[in-house]
């Protein structure tokens, strides 16, 4: 068989593709988290950052298509392997079913994957496409005027006085809705459990794992997962609880969500 045949048709190859695509998606969610945490800073940061990403044009689309391909490969490999495994189990099941030592997270990869996929669809509809919660979608809010220059890695990206999408307010409006916030925290929690097994599994599937540094990998995985969960959960938690107050100069400061709902 050829290389492509081995990677796409063999069980070991499909696990490799699942690991590669999973690693790309992990890289994305880390970058996404770091970008989002700017909500705790001045609105210039997250709004300028969003404007910068949109100004990338073709590069943004290359990234988006790349991520889409990674997601499709990840899901395809999961479906293909699940079907192979179901066939391998056969029709007659054991009378007694028990786990010997499989880690908790590893037993629910399909369940956590499904919930994360459903969340991803909603998340894109809400914050990227504007199909859900469209009244507070960035494209439908009055534009935000940059109070200062926005730099990325020291390079000037967006100038002071520039009118940009008010992503800051969109996120605030979104997370002030308890249902959206709780679904977000639940989905992030399940994604964290998914990564608890998935992140380590990548090293198995690549053939990089070794008993000598297994404890270190375990520690890194757990620290990463704790940081990932609390980093993501901190945003809806801070906004919903009212701990994080909207900054002046944004739509959400001028018109709170309660007033927005009562508007004709």
């Amino acid at each position: 068989m050829s290389l492509i045949g081995n990677l796409f048709c063999s069980t070991v190859g499909r696990k490799f593709l699942m690991a590669v695509s999973g690693l790309i998606l992990v890289g994305f969610v880390i970058g996404h988290l770091v970008g989002n945490l700017q909500i705790f800073s001045h609105p210039d940061k997250i709004n300028g950052y969003a404007q910068f990403l949109h100004s990338l044009g073709p590069l943004l689309w290359v990234t988006r298509i790349g991520l889409l391909i990674a997601a499709v490969i990840h899901i395809w490999a999961a479906i293909a392997l699940t079907r192979t495994n179901a066939q391998a189990r056969g029709t007659q099941h054991y009378g007694v079913n028990r786990w010997i030592r499989a880690p908790f997270a590893s037993r629910y990869m399909r369940l956590t994957g499904f919930v994360v996929l459903a969340f991803l669809a909603y998340h894109l509809a809400q914050f990227t496409l504007g199909y859900a919660s469209s009244s507070t979608f960035k494209g439908h809010l009055p534009e935000y005027t940059m109070a200062s220059d926005f730099h990325i890695f020291g390079f000037p990206a967006v100038e002071k006085g520039h009118a940009v999408d008010d992503v800051y307010s969109m996120v605030f409006y979104g997370f002030q809705n308890p249902v959206i916030s709780f679904f977000y925290i639940l989905a992030v929690g399940l994604l964290t459990i998914h990564l608890l097994h998935g992140f380590q599994s990548v090293f198995h599937s690549f053939g990089w794992y070794s008993a000598s540094w297994a404890p270190a990998l375990r520690a890194v995985t757990i620290i990463f997962c704790i940081g990932f969960f609390f980093g993501n959960a901190s945003m809806p938690a801070a906004i919903l609880s009212g701990w994080l107050k909207p900054a002046q100069g944004t739509n959400v400061a001028a018109q709170p969500r309660t007033a927005l709902n009562q508007a004709p």
């Binding site: 068989m1 290389l3 391998a88 189990r89 007659q92 054991y94 007694v96 053939g207």
Partner: protein, 268 residues
């Protein structure tokens, strides 16, 4: 571990899977066993139960067994949902009745997987493992007189690791325990045991490709890194050999694609 002896006899109920033949419907049948010497193995208890069944004119329970000292890999009982029973690092033949409580109901089933069809009762056909071995689990050398000792130097660490992999007795407990019915621990043990030795190098790439692809063709599942196989293995083969297998398989795939004549050896 099987250790210690007990002087107390116990009474248990064996709930055994009975199936007349391949593809036939099957079901559990209870066999009470009273006043059992707790130092006999579960296979010996099946012998006793079978004696009674034979005397009554009933069909004895079919189960696979051979050496009864844990080295042949023939015995293959799924005992209370774990291959080879509750203890770690032993085969069914070394699972003694002292491992069970007095009055216990012990559920005994065959190893189940689509590539391991049931032959009868507790016997499943594991010749799929032979097919995998035949695909590449050997080295191509002239047979004849044994070579001189140490004529091929082998680093001590490699020899030890290869020996750990070679401990695999091919019983199929890894497949039976895996929820995906993956044979990957068996394949990993065979590939690693030869791949770690100098004699195994010429066919290293073709071996791993052929053995993995054969296991796939036979209908075994994929690894999800849960470690159930290693936990059930009577020889406690490490899960780390699967990582070595993945590395070897991927490296061989890339080498065979980009380096001419990389994968010599076995015909594919």
């Amino acid at each position: 571990m099987a250790a210690g002896v007990s002087k107390n006899n116990i009474s248990v109920t064996l709930r055994v899977w009975r199936q007349a033949g391949p593809g036939k419907p099957g079901g559990f049948v209870d066999y009470p066993a009273k006043n059992v010497n707790s130092n006999m193995s579960i296979l010996e208890l099946l012998d006793v139960v079978n004696d009674e069944l034979t005397l009554k004119g009933d069909e004895p329970i079919a189960f696979a067994h051979d050496c009864r000292e844990g080295i042949c890999g023939t015995c293959s009982l799924m005992i209370d949902g774990k291959p080879h029973g509750p203890n770690q690092g032993v085969a069914s033949c070394q699972t003694y009745m002292r491992s069970f409580e007095d009055g216990a109901v012990i559920v005994i089933e065959p190893f189940r997987a689509a590539p391991f069809p049931i032959v009868k009762d507790l016997v499943s056909d594991r010749s799929a493992f032979d097919r995998i071995q035949q695909a590449g689990g050997f080295i191509t050398v002239r047979t004849g007189a044994a070579p001189d000792a140490n004529s091929i130097p082998v680093p001590k660490a490699d020899a030890e690791l290869a020996m750990d992999a070679a401990a695999c007795i091919g019983c199929g407990a890894c497949v039976a325990a895996c929820k995906n019915r993956s044979a990957v621990l068996f394949v990993a043990a065979k590939v690693s045991h030869l791949g770690l030795m100098p004699q195994g190098q010429p066919e290293r790439d073709s071996r791993v490709l052929a053995m993995v692809n054969t296991a796939d063709e036979l209908g075994f599942g994929s690894c999800t890194n849960q470690g159930e196989c290693s936990a059930a293995c009577p020889k406690m083969i490490s899960h780390d050999f699967i990582v070595r297998l993945n590395r070897d398989y991927l490296a061989a795939s890339f080498r065979s694609a980009f380096c001419a004549h990389a994968a010599g050896g076995h015909a594919e």
